[in-house]
């Protein structure tokens, strides 16, 4: 485990950086008339791209290598959860169903 002081440093710098991101245009608006169009268009894709880049490896990678098969319990549970997320748009329902399916599969297999 990384030592505690290093963890705090990472948390503090990430916190200050995140605040600056939040404050950016709210602060700068006095000096800027509008957001550059290209920036706004690119930023629109950030949530989808980043979240997918976080989710897919967590579901697909098993012991360091990609595994797309019925033996991959996390991928199966994640697929069911994705359907739930799509139908309900509920974070709560998505987590519960995904966890139940994963635990169920692990008990069966």
């Amino acid at each position: 485990m990384t030592d505690s002081a290093t963890v705090w440093l990472a948390i503090a710098v990430a916190g200050v950086g995140t605040f600056l991101i939040r404050f950016s245009f709210i602060f700068l608006f006095e000096y800027l008339s509008e957001v550059p169009d290209g920036v706004e268009r690119a930023l629109r894709f950030v949530p989808a791209a980043v979240l997918a880049a976080l989710v897919l490896p967590a579901l697909v990678i098993v012991d360091g290598t990609p595994s797309v098969s019925l033996g991959n319990e996390r991928l199966l549970a994640g697929t069911v959860a994705a359907v739930v997320a799509w139908r309900t748009e509920s974070i709560f329902a998505t987590i519960v169903v995904g966890m139940v399916v994963l635990v169920g599969l692990q008990m069966l297999l």
């Binding site: 485990m1 990384t2 505690s4 290093t6 963890v7 705090w8 990472a10 948390i11 710098v13 990430a14 916190g15 200050v16 950086g17 995140t18 605040f19 991101i21 939040r22 404050f23 950016s24 245009f25 709210i26 602060f27 700068l28 608006f29 006095e30 957001v35 920036v39 268009r41 690119a42 930023l43 629109r44 894709f45 950030v46 949530p47 989808a48 791209a49 980043v50 979240l51 997918a52 880049a53 976080l54 989710v55 897919l56 490896p57 967590a58 990678i61 360091g64 996390r74 549970a77 994640g78 959860a81 994705a82 997320a85 974070i91 709560f92 998505t94 987590i95 995904g98 966890m99 994963l102």
Partner: protein, 228 residues
């Protein structure tokens, strides 16, 4: 103009149903930190200083894997970059307030507070914007902190056989799905996720960042029609 109190309560009423999603998310933010070996104080520190769920969970995962601090910071900032868009979108509505108030409002900015407030500002010009915004944002902040603490306490007692850490990608998944609203955003997600899987073995978690950047570019390309 509506009174401060009425506007704050209006905001708080609007945000109430959102809490159903925030509570488990906050619990996971606390529990996951303890699960990977961070202290409860680290978990609370993340919730107070960063206060952005998806990026906190990513930071927790990386810290648990002993990733270098710089990688943790860059990952958090990349994930939170979307909030520059919220900041830009809210800026004209908050222009009239002092720098100090705007800094405070920026600190509590979240996906939910942004989405609810900007909708109200567009619909009703008479609302007290500062207090309506704070009515949506402050209850989220309070509930988030409480849930983090509960997650820390409960998380340590959850049996190892329960794969609680799987709630982390599930939470991202639940936020991801509604962001896919058209074909360019679907391409951004598909390319971003695929490149991240291919690059999963790269050092410094470069797979995630490469995936994210490639996904954004792919979304722009499709939207612009450059590939035709």
């Amino acid at each position: 103009m509506s009174s401060r109190r009425a506007s704050f309560l209006d905001g708080a009423r609007t945000v109430a149903p959102v809490m159903v999603g925030i509570v488990p998310f906050g619990l996971v933010a606390g529990a996951a930190a303890v699960r990977v070996g961070l202290s409860g104080l680290h978990a609370v520190g993340l919730s107070v200083l960063v206060f952005a769920g998806a990026s906190q969970l990513a930071a927790i995962e990386l810290l648990g894997e002993n990733a270098p601090a710089a990688v943790v910071v860059v990952t958090v900032l990349v994930i939170n970059l979307r909030m520059t868009m919220y900041s830009a979108s809210l800026a004209p509505y908050l222009q009239e307030f002092s720098t100090r108030w705007r800094a405070g409002m920026a600190y509590v900015l979240t996906d939910q507070a942004y989405a609810l407030s900007v909708t109200e500002f567009r619909a009703d010009e008479s609302v007290d914007r500062k207090w309506y915004y704070l009515g949506t944002a402050v209850p989220l902040w309070v509930v988030w902190q409480i849930c983090t603490v509960i997650g820390v306490v409960v998380g340590a007692r959850v049996p190892e056989s329960l794969p609680l850490e799987f709630a982390v990608p599930l939470t991202f998944l639940a936020i991801l799905v509604p962001t896919i609203t058209d074909s360019p955003s679907a391409v951004a997600a598909g390319v971003g996720g695929s490149i991240a899987v291919i690059g999963a073995g790269l050092p410094l978690n470069l797979g995630l960042i490469t995936g994210a950047v490639t996904g954004v570019v792919a979304g722009l390309v499709v939207e612009t029609g450059w590939f035709r």
